[in-house]
């Protein structure tokens, strides 16, 4: 692919003009424009037609959009050689490829990046903080804790998400450009479900470790008295309530806000 790095860098602005009507269409045109200028050099009417085409609705996951963009560049190269009825037929094909790759990549991206890698990177940060003896859940924030562990936790939160995201972004661009219908423009080169499944199991194991370790450090100095039992019971109640709210699709933020209101009322009434 010509100017692959330039196109890759432009992909970071895919959502630069996000709008409700056509979602990422302006960002998509921005990414495609250098390729369009090269493909349609000296042919202004067909270049403008290609620009109009590329302004149609587009929506995908930012890290997975390469799987559409590479395929679209390849398809534009085919379109440039067509005229008349053949051009219309190829444009229909262009729309099918654009929609199918974008939708499939978006679905995989939402599950892999938003629902798995982002929370997993947070869990890793917790593990690094706990290993580094940084008790971030304590009531009084101490400034005399390990700054190295805290910085490593921050780096972990960024790297665990970004290393796969940046690689897949580039791989998607290249694989889809080289790909065809046979391998769904590179989208079936990787076993996404297996990857997501493995990461989710890893996440569950680590988050269970984090929960039990957090309970341990929170209550290790407590004696078995009514106050400690009441505190543990309340925290357990909130853990269960949070799970229940999640099952009902109610975001945790509303549980926090409700708890604040209920505690305030209870404090006044007590």
């Amino acid at each position: 692919m010509k100017n692959g790095i330039g196109i890759y860098l432009r992909m970071f602005l895919l959502q630069g003009f996000w709008n409700f009507a056509r979602l990422q269409n302006i960002g998509m045109l921005y990414i495609m424009d250098p390729a369009l200028k090269r493909i349609y050099e000296g042919r202004m009417p067909v270049y403008l037609r290609a620009k109009s085409r590329n302004l149609e609705t587009f929506n995908s996951h930012p890290a997975m959009s390469g799987y559409s963009i590479g395929a679209m560049i390849k398809q534009e190269e085919k379109l440039a050689e067509k005229e008349g009825e053949e051009l219309l037929e190829e444009e229909r094909e262009w729309r099918i490829i654009r929609a199918s790759t974008a939708n499939t990549a978006a679905s995989i991206g939402d599950r892999l990046f938003w629902a798995t890698l982002k929370p997993l990177s947070l869990v890793f940060s917790f593990v690094i903080l706990f290993v580094g003896q940084v008790d971030i859940l304590q009531e009084e924030v101490s400034t005399s804790q390990s700054i190295i562990a805290a910085l490593l936790a921050l780096a972990g939160s960024l790297l665990i998400y970004n290393i796969p995201a940046l690689i897949i972004k580039f791989k998607g661009l290249m694989d889809s450009y080289e790909g065809s219908e046979d391998n769904f423009y590179g989208l079936i080169n990787l076993n996404w479900n297996r990857m997501i499944g493995f990461l989710k199991v890893l996440g569950q194991i680590l988050v269970l470790f984090v929960i039990f370790y957090a309970i341990y450090i929170r209550f290790r100095k407590s004696s078995v008295d009514p106050e400690s039992i009441a505190r543990i019971s309340l925290l357990a109640a909130f853990l269960i309530l949070s799970i229940f709210m999640r099952k009902l699709n109610i975001p945790n933020i509303f549980l926090y806000l409700t708890a604040t209101i209920v505690f305030s009322l209870a404090a006044f009434l007590a």
């Binding site: 970071f12 602005l13 959502q15 630069g16 409700f20 009507a21 979602l23 302006i26 045109l29 921005y30 424009d33 403008l48 620009k51 109009s52 302004l55 929506n59 890290a63 939402d110 938003w114 629902a115 798995t116 982002k118 929370p119 997993l120 990177s121 940060s125 971030i136 859940l137 009531e139 924030v141 400034t143 805290a150 936790a153 921050l154 939160s157 960024l158 998400y161 989710k200 199991v201 996440g203 569950q204 929960i211 957090a214 309340l234 909130f238 853990l239 269960i240 949070s242 799970i243 999640r246 975001p251 945790n252 933020i253 926090y256 708890a259 604040t260 505690f263 305030s264 209870a266 404090a267």
Partner: protein
């Protein structure tokens, strides 16, 4: 004051990463909280507020047309409130959450504005009267200014208002807010556990 204005500028730049530029997660609350905490003189306070904010916002996903509350602004505003306006950490967190929720309405309006301008912009792009790069640059500048203006309102109105009443807040409310703040990680960790078994929310 100049330092605070600079911190707001940094926060506005980081917020762009949420949707419009990069999406490399430098806008995630744990990062924003730590950066703003470091710049304002208490790194660990920023780290804690960032982690708590991230835990509470974990089940919001920027899928499709959803405009979730801004975790970046929530954590940033919380740190500013604690460091510059003397709010206790649990009140600062609450104000940050309200700020993040309020900004999602501003964000929705900005997206509506872009949608209203879209036909004209598309016409100009189709006739080569402008370039997509220029359109995106203008969009980023508008977003940056909107976030900065929102933060200015927070530090010039909401911050001083809370700062002036914080000494008069009854002890009962301190206890209530403190308790609800310290159940946040437990609410969040339960959500985190479920996030590895649940499908992403579409709305």
């Amino acid at each position: 004051m100049a330092g605070l204005l600079l911190i707001c500028a940094v926060l506005a730049v980081l917020e762009l990463d949420t949707t419009y530029w990069g999406q490399v997660l430098i806008s995630r609350p744990i990062v924003v909280g730590s950066v703003i905490g470091f710049l304002s003189g208490n790194f660990f306070l920023g780290l804690q507020l960032g982690i708590f904010t991230e835990l509470i916002y974990l089940d919001f996903m920027p899928i499709g047309g959803v405009t979730p509350p801004s975790g970046a602004l929530s954590s940033g505003i919380a740190v500013i409130m604690a460091q510059y306006f003397g709010l206790d950490i649990y009140f600062a967190f609450f104000v940050g959450i309200i700020g993040g929720l309020a900004f999602s309405f501003v964000e929705k309006e900005l997206r509506r504005l872009r949608t209203r301008n879209l036909p004209q912009i598309e016409h100009e792009l189709k006739t080569n009267a402008t370039s997509a790069g220029k359109v995106i640059l203008q969009s980023l500048l508008l977003q940056l200014l909107a976030v900065y203006a929102f933060l200015l309102v927070c530090i010039s109105v909401i911050g001083p208002a809370f700062g002036s009443i914080s000494a008069k807040i009854p002890e009962h409310l301190h206890i209530a807010f403190k308790f609800s703040y310290f159940v946040v990680p437990w609410i969040g960790l339960a959500g985190l556990l479920l996030s590895f078994s649940a499908k992403p929310k579409s709305d």
